[in-house]
Symmetry: C2
Subunit: 219 residues, 2 copies
C-alpha cells in the first residue's frame, strides 16, 4: 500500500483561471510546470556584439540527432537572442550553478539595445573550438548548438527554435561510464515559477522498467 | 568578483557524439537537458480504458491562455497516450512526489495492450468535476488539460502536443498570495537523464530584474 499523506486541495476552474489578475496568473501557470531546466543562452550578432539571456523553457526533443527546443515569447518587442540565432545560425546553452544564479537572473532585465548582459553582470564570455557564439566561462556544463528549424506556434504567437547540439563541455569527473552526467556534482541547479531557484538532492537512479520485474537502484 | 571553482572539462565534438554507442548517447543527451519537470500523464480511451505514462518533456508555452507542450517519440509503435489524447481531447498532468516516484518510473515498462498502468502500479485513478481523463489520486498537484494542437516535428519524426490547462488542483497551503506555488511543500520532485530522481532545496526567490537595480530576496 502507498503511504499517502493526502493534502487538502484547492480547485481552480477555467473561468477562475481566466479571471485571475494578470501577474498572479503568470506566477501560477509558470509554477504548474514543475521544476525546470534553467540556463543562459549566449549569442552574438554578425558584428560580434554579445547577448546573454536566461531561459527556463529549454527541452529535450531527441538524442539522435541530439536536438533541443526553446520557446520564445511573441515579437514585438524584438527578441535579440532569436534574431542572433536566425542571423548567425548558432547559440550556446550554459547550465546555471549556485555561484552564478543571481547574475543569471539579472540578465532578464530589459537593457537598452547595444548593452551586453555579459558586461553588466560580470559573467565572462568564452570562445573556443571555432564556435561562433559565446559560452559562459563560469558555467560548468556548456553546449554549442546549431540552429535547425523555426516553428511558429500560431495559437499564442510564440516561436519554437530547434537546434542540434554539436559541442559539449562537461566536467570530466561528472560523466559516468554509461553516459549519464551527475548534474549535482556539476553544481547545476533548477528553477520553479518565474523567480525561484533550487539545488537538488538525488533520491535514486532506477533500473530500466520492465513488466513483471522489480525496479532496482542503480546507485 | 565571482567565486569560480573551475572544473576541468571534457570536450565532446559532433563526430564523437555521432560515434557514441546508442545507449550511452541516449543517457548523455538526456542528461544535458538539466533538471526537468517529471509528471504522470493520465488518459482513457473512448471506452474508459485507462492509461498512465511518465513524461519528462512537459514544458510551459504561455500563461494566457495557459498552454503546455509535450513531446512524443516517433510512431510506430503506437503511442497509447497520444492516441487517447487525439481521440478524446483530454489528458491529465500529475506531479510526482517522493512517495510515488518508483511507481511512476514503472509506468515506462512496455505493457501489453489492454493492461492499465494504474492497475499494475497500484496508483489510484480519480475522476472529478466532469473531467474525462483520470487524475492520479496520490499526486498533490493535478492538472486537467484540453487538447489544442498537434505539431509534427519533421526533423526527427517526433510530435508536439499542445494543451490548455482548464482544471487545477493544488494543496491549499502551497499557493502563495502572488500566485507562486511552493512546489517543495507539495513534495513535487524533479528528474535528470532517463532514470535519476531528485528532491530540491530552495536557494532563494529573486525580485523582478531591472537595469541598474540590485536584485533582492523575496523570502
Amino acid at each position: 500500500m502507498l503511504k499517502n499523506l493526502k493534502m487538502i486541495k484547492t480547485f481552480i476552474n477555467k473561468n477562475q483561471i481566466e479571471e485571475l489578475e494578470k501577474q498572479k496568473r503568470v506566477h501560477l501557470i509558470n509554477s504548474l510546470g514543475g521544476f525546470k531546466s534553467v540556463s543562459l543562452v549566449g549569442t552574438s550578432d554578425e558584428n560580434g556584439n554579445e547577448n546573454l539571456a536566461i531561459f527556463s523553457s529549454f527541452f529535450h526533443i531527441g538524442a539522435n540527432p541530439p536536438l533541443i527546443g526553446l520557446i520564445f515569447r511573441p515579437s514585438p518587442p524584438e527578441r535579440d537572442t532569436m534574431r542572433n540565432i536566425l542571423d548567425t545560425g548558432f547559440f550556446t546553452v550554459n547550465h546555471i550553478n549556485e555561484s552564478i544564479y543571481k547574475h543569471a537572473h539579472q540578465t532578464s532585465a530589459r537593457y537598452e539595445k547595444g548593452i551586453s548582459e555579459f558586461h553588466v553582470t560580470g559573467l565572462k564570455s568564452e570562445y573556443k573550438n571555432g564556435f561562433h557564439a559565446p559560452f559562459v566561462a563560469e558555467s560548468n556544463i556548456q553546449l554549442g548548438v546549431e540552429f535547425k528549424e523555426k516553428i511558429d506556434i500560431s495559437i499564442n504567437s510564440t516561436t519554437m527554435i530547434i537546434g542540434e547540439i554539436t559541442q559539449i563541455y562537461i566536467p570530466e569527473n561528472c560523466l559516468l561510464d554509461d553516459g549519464f552526467i551527475d548534474l549535482e556534482k556539476a553544481n547545476t541547479i533548477t528553477c520553479s515559477g518565474l523567480d525561484s531557484y533550487h539545488k537538488t538532492i538525488q533520491l535514486d537512479r532506477l533500473s530500466y522498467a520492465k513488466p513483471d520485474k522489480e525496479i532496482t537502484s542503480l546507485l
